[in-house]
Assembly symmetry: C2
């Protein structure tokens, strides 16, 4: 398989796949013409990475997940710990975003949004309030 084929099948841009090879996530073979020659196992790994990335795992976390996946002796507790940590970070991010959303929604709701210059959003940003830490 050439890179275009795996890109289509894994749902990843060719650029991304080359990048993953650069950083050592995958190690495709090479054809005589210099083209990357992907095996089914490479495609499988790329799909795995793509799904992990889709769940918000960083590249380094993906690397660890792949290592655990390859390790038949792993303990599921190791995988679970990794996932749980990530889950906690996601929850924290959601909390942070919701706080932003609430504050901003308050400011936006207070703004007339007409052609006059008075704007509670701007004054809210200009004045130190309890709003933003």
């Amino acid at each position: 398989m050439n890179i275009g084929d795996v890109a289509a099948r894994a749902g990843l841009p060719a650029k991304t796949i080359r990048y993953y090879e650069d950083i050592g996530l995958i190690r495709p073979l090479r054809s005589d013409n210099g083209y990357r020659a992907f095996r089914e196992s490479d495609l499988h790994k790329l799909a795995f990475i793509g799904r992990a990335r889709g769940l918000g795992f960083s590249i380094e976390e993906c690397r660890r997940l792949l290592a655990l996946y390859d390790d038949r002796q792993r303990a599921s507790s190791d995988v679970k710990a990794l996932a749980q940590t990530h889950l906690t970070q996601i929850a924290a991010k959601i909390t942070e975003l919701r706080a932003m959303e609430a504050t901003l929604q308050t400011l936006v709701s207070a703004c007339a949004g007409d052609d006059r210059p008075d704007c509670p959003i701007l004054t809210g940003l200009a004045e130190a309030k309890d709003c933003c830490g």
Copy 2:
């Protein structure tokens, strides 16, 4: 005021303040010794930017917000539109994160997390399911 003073008062690292000058967000004066000489108005702007960043506005959005703040002729609708757009993006990000959270939570809950190798998290990532698009 030297940079250390504004940094303390605005709650921003000196590095960040220099960066903001680099990209033209602020234009402090210079003392004879070459030190940046900040006015109260510079401090005010920095605090404004700090709060806007705290609400998740990008640097370019902060630049526009500052321009609107400086423009006494602005229409509050312009400010509101900017904020509303950002609010929509925040909401979209929250939705995305919640989807990740739900999927990942399902996988984590299904994982025994013991010393055995069987792991639904890994198999979930390895198999194409409806889970991750």
